[in-house]
Symmetry: C2
Subunit: 344 residues, 2 copies
């Protein structure tokens, strides 16, 4: 990062604030976060994907003054750095988005330097799954852990791997792509809905995959309350049917849990992080919900049946705690860590 402004307060009570930006295909989540991870102001703005990244960067920068005004009502500080998270392929060293899925107008654009010019402070650039993981690590479920892995279950499956406080970004900015683990090695294994490889986790544990597998079973004639919905089915419909003990819906959720348990076994045998966190919108009701608890229990059982004893009883598997804020909070936290690393 260049253009680091010298912070430190100089006798004032002024705090370091961080601006976290989490770009998605439909919406962009923005948050002003203080040095301890507290959210002082937040916004959600539309991505307007066809207008391209420069338009979005202008609106991201444009939202900041109003958010600063809101934050100044609670505290005193100024923005020390920005964290910018985007989906899909990217080149982190050059600050470029490459070819994010479903964002054809965002290809090969230097988002990092564009935003840095507009905001006037350094921008730390990272993958959206890694940002969510970093958020949970900084102030969420992983706050008491040195290492952790997060799987984000949404339209697709993303993830972030943190080892001793460091994110695994990869040599080609393709690290921590947990959705692309091979969990079914058969030659006729399922394909990812998003054009990924055969038998990858995303073909089983994404919302799209849950819908596709449910539809396959409906078409095969399995009895279910979902039969009349087959056309506009969503993962939420599957969850709601499971709440009513629909057998097909429960079978699909149990199978999703099984493949996640297999993936987590491999992840823990490779990284041994101590904690694996499940985030993203597809949580089947999450903790305390009958279906969510069954989902988590199924994952843990598969893991327990497979994992090596040294890690089997010592690894925590749990839902994330920050919800959809994890991405912008993590982007802000990563900007903070990057600033500290470059100025120390």
């Amino acid at each position: 990062m260049s253009g680091v402004t010298d912070e430190g307060g100089q006798g004032t009570a002024e705090q370091r604030w961080f601006y976290g930006v989490d770009v998605g295909g439909t919406n962009i989540k923005l948050g002003l976060v203080d040095d301890g991870g507290r959210v002082l102001a937040r916004r959600t703005i539309p991505t307007h994907e066809p207008k391209g990244p420069a338009d979005a960067m202008a609106r991201i920068a444009g939202a900041l003054p109003e958010m600063l005004a809101e934050a100044e009502g609670q505290s005193s500080g100024r923005v020390a750095a920005v964290g910018l998270a985007t989906p899909g392929t990217m080149d982190i060293p050059s600050g470029r988005v490459l070819e994010p899925p479903n964002m054809p107008h965002w290809r090969h654009y230097d988002v990092r330097d564009d935003l840095a010019r507009r905001v006037g402070v350094p921008v730390a650039f990272l993958n959206d799954g890694n940002a969510a993981a970093y958020g949970e690590y900084w102030i969420g479920r992983g706050r008491d852990f040195r290492s952790m892995i997060m799987l984000t279950l949404g339209t697709g499956v993303g993830g972030g791997i943190i080892v001793d406080g460091r994110l695994i970004h990869g040599s080609h900015s393709f690290g921590s792509e947990c959705g692309h683990m091979v969990v079914d090695s058969r030659e006729d294994a399922r394909l990812c809905v998003w054009g990924g490889g055969r038998g990858e986790l995303e073909a089983f544990a994404s919302a799209s995959a849950v819908v596709a597998r449910t539809r396959d079973r409906l078409q095969a004639g399995e009895a279910s309350s979902l039969q009349q919905k087959a056309e506009q089915l969503t993962a939420k419909d599957v969850y709601l049917a499971a709440r009513e003990d629909d057998r097909l819906a429960l079978a699909v959720i149990d199978e999703t849990a099984r493949y996640l348990g297999i993936a987590i076994t491999t992840l823990v045998h490779l990284i041994d992080p101590g904690l694996v966190v499940l985030g993203g919108a597809m949580d089947f009701g999450g903790k305390g919900d009958a279906v969510g608890d069954r989902f988590l229990t199924g994952i843990c059982e598969e893991f327990h049946n497979r994992a090596f004893h040294v890690v089997r009883d010592t690894t925590v598997i749990d839902f994330a705690t920050l919800g959809s804020d994890a991405g912008f909070i993590g982007a802000a936290g990563y900007a903070r860590a990057t600033l500290d690393a470059t100025t120390s």
Copy 2:
């Protein structure tokens, strides 16, 4: 590490030397290595497993004076630290071996502090697969890479993951256990010969697994020149039969390559290291051998068919270069890196 001796030469030409120790179930490999990774002296001593670890530590320390004398003929230096690599489960923070496979007399013993007392310099303790990986990273195939993964194919399958120069040891000293990745998720998948979980890489890509799978095919009545050998079959026999175009032997080797290609796809999608290196004794003749080349080509083809385009054409997959020296060289190199980290 405690008791770090202050090095630096103080005007003399004296170099820092490192003593690398690679413990195996049958033999212990020892090497005196200089600051640039050059091997000045080496020994192989028997493990004498039933005599236990204290006896072995005494003999490891006892071998050093003679090796120093040998080294002093070539250069001038003194031992700044020891690197000690052991197989199986361990507790790195406390310096303890836990329950290494096939080493029942070595359980729950503080090898690190025992050896440190005997040699009088700090001892860095790590897993044997990680040590081999670090050796290749330091001065072998990975010397020009910042990150890499090594798979060691021997009686079992081990591994080491290095990200930006740091080994992934794990929160319970169970990181980088690449042999325990799940590559076949079917409920009736093969079991590891060594009591590991179902469908794990070790059940396909270890020498024991190659023998077991060959034997299964022979028992099923497949034609092969190996039929008369079925009882005392080794992986080397399979290799030699493959050299003579034995169809069964080639099929087993091709299948081994396929599962390695699947495992490497997952590894690269998680870590994106830029380099994956194959080491260990089971290299089917290695580079330049017709069978070894077919083995490596099979691995690369499976990877190319599965990997995401961003990493598909940019990731190098190759044989290791240090042979069975990788373990002690890596242990020495890791001791050097640990010393530098604690004294800088």
